[in-house]
Amino acid sequence: MRFRETALPVLVVAAALAVLWYLAAIALNWQVVANTLARSGQHFGTWDILAGTLGYNRPLLPAPHQILDELWRSTVPLPVTSRRSLVLHGWITLEAALVGFGLGVAAGVLAAVAIVHIRALERSLMPWIIASQAIPVLALAPIVIVALGTLGLEGLLPKALIAAYLCFFPVAIAMTKGLNAPDLLARDLMRTYSASRAQVFWKLRVPSSLPFLFAGLKIAAAGAVVGAIVAELPTGAQAGLGARLLSGSYYGQTLQIWAALLAAAMLSATLVGLLAATERLVNRRMGVRA
């Protein structure tokens, strides 16, 4: 019953997308493959082109199995220290994303705690934090990289800072909303107990902020990965998934781009998935019904 309601539609849609992808790959690569075969001078038929479109090594659109094959070849048979190993590049990006995520979340939560307790901050700082949502923060990435580079800081830290910067805003906004979430009745109830500020904070504000916090954390995790990847672009970094995307783009290595893209997607999905699982666990312990 549950399978038919939830998993089956997703599987069918995924299968349909895969079929569409193959058809698109055939259509997009047809001309290139036909030209290549014609240049080679051999005799060839429609069937040869069809086979070629799904196995061409610099396709306009690679078929899904080619991407998986490339992903396999750049991970499993290679030592993780190899320059061609996606595990190495993925780890370099993930490291920056995780450090940035930690920094950004900590700063965001602290800012939220300060904002809900200091009225002047709520009225003066909060509008700027909200307005900053409309600003393309990622455009600052090259500045941070260059500025820190002149101070001799390179590698992990600048990337982590950019990731942190992207994490800060959603977490600060969500957490402020969450800490202010308890309704007037609940706050009045705590007043009748003459509870202290700290007690109100830990027994009322923090528990009711958790759903908001998790929503913010999921946005932040996705942002951290994007931040770490984009931070690798402007200086032409040598390692990381962003660097793989960039070098693939320079040398027309389609398969390399797609494999890096898939790896980035998996990183992001794993992080968000872990957070969602933690959220479910916390919810169950706090008696929230799914």
């Binding site: 309601e5 089956l8 539609p9 997703v10 599987l11 069918v12 849609v13 995924a14 997308l17 306009l60 009225r119 002047a120 009225r123 003066s124 700082l125 909060m126 509008p127 700027w128 307005a131 949502q133 409309a134 600003i135 393309p136 923060v137 990622l138 455009a139 600052l140 090259p142 500045i143 990289i145 260059v146 500025a147 002149t150 101070l151 999921k218 995790a221 996705a222 990965v225 994007v226 990847i229 984009v230 672009l233 402007p234 200086t235 998934l241 995307l245 960039l246 693939g248 783009s249 027309g252 389609t254 781009i257 797609w258 890096a260 893209l261 980035a264 997607a265 992001s268 999905a269 968000v272």
Partner: protein, 310 residues
């Protein structure tokens, strides 16, 4: 009244401090700045007590605190950067950025047209339209809806920006490839939000339309689309900065020799940070104005929604 006096003192203080800093600074400057920061905190604290409520006067007064906060931050930035003689590569002074904006306005305008008017606006419009259209189709097929929604939610959490090099390969270096990235980035939020909005209609309201024997299109037009509007505007607001980010970052992967993202990367590499900051200011102003326009249309179109009329 004391607040106005305090504001005047802080403003005059910062004016003198910035002047002193440009003239070479000295220990008195640092002592003055410490004092000014203290006075500013007091001022912002007092301003934060003003305003509130729904009247225009209350709203205007509530703006004073954040404006004062921003002005103090800007003045402090200027005084510290000039006074400490911070190298331009690290952080240019606001006055230097302002001068660069004035001097390079033609260049900035070219970049703005290339990135914002072409890539962002075209991509934003197409992505929103596609997302909306697909949502209307999917809404009629519950099976497809159940299958597509988790997929779309997953994609929303992925680094979609990474498709930029592929877009360059397919659509070339000029703005269409940037618009294509923006289309993909804005498509999914619109799809997910429109579907959520269409599911938002209450059971009573749907029964009401059924009791009138209203057709699918009538129910959609008179009931479900208006009810979905707040969700559609949520997507439009989320998409506005997303589109700008997408277009700028996509240019990091290669572009013709103009565009905001192109300028940011190349000038950063040349350590011409004042021009980079000038582009950032343009991007920030464009992003805020874009978002603000969408928010204004939202207020007019969904005036009836509790979140707006409160």
């Amino acid at each position: 009244m004391t607040t106005a006096l305090l504001a005047a003192i802080v403003a005059a203080g910062f004016a003198i401090a910035i002047h002193t800093a440009h003239a070479g600074g000295g220990p008195a400057l640092w002592a003055g700045l410490v004092l000014l920061v203290g006075l500013s905190a007091w001022l912002v604290g007092r301003l934060a007590e003003l305003g509130g409520g729904k009247s225009w006067r209350g709203r205007a007064l509530a703006l004073l605190a954040p404006l004062a906060f921003g002005a103090v931050a800007l003045a402090l930035w200027e005084a510290l950067v000039v006074g400490f003689a911070v190298p331009m590569v690290l952080l240019p002074a606001p006055s230097a950025i302002a001068q660069r904006i004035a001097a390079s306005s033609g260049l900035l305008l070219t970049d703005f047209v290339q990135t914002f008017i072409k890539a962002v606006l075209v991509g934003y419009a197409l992505g929103g339209l596609f997302g909306f259209g697909v949502a209307l189709l999917v809404d009629r097929l519950p099976f497809l809806r159940r299958g597509l929604l988790p997929v779309a939610n997953l994609v929303s959490a992925l680094p979609v920006i990474g498709i930029a090099p592929i877009a360059v390969m397919w659509f070339g270096f000029d703005w269409p490839s940037k618009a294509a990235v923006v289309v993909v980035m804005t498509f999914f939020p619109m799809l997910v939000n429109t579907l959520a909005g269409l599911a938002e209609t209450g059971r009573l309201e749907r029964d009401l339309m059924r009791s009138y024997a209203a057709g699918h299109v009538q129910t959609l037009w008179m009931l479900r689309l208006p009810a979905a509007l707040p969700f559609i505007f949520t997507a439009l607001k989320v998409n506005a900065p997303l589109a700008l980010i997408g277009a700028i970052v996509a240019e990091f992967f290669g572009s013709p020799t103009q565009g905001m993202g192109f300028r940011i990367t190349t000038e950063a590499a040349k350590l011409a940070l004042d021009l980079v900051w000038a582009e950032i200011v343009v991007a920030a102003v464009a992003g805020t104005a874009f978002y603000g326009c969408v928010a204004l249309v939202e207020r007019a179109a969904t005036f009836w929604h509790p979140s707006i009329r409160a």
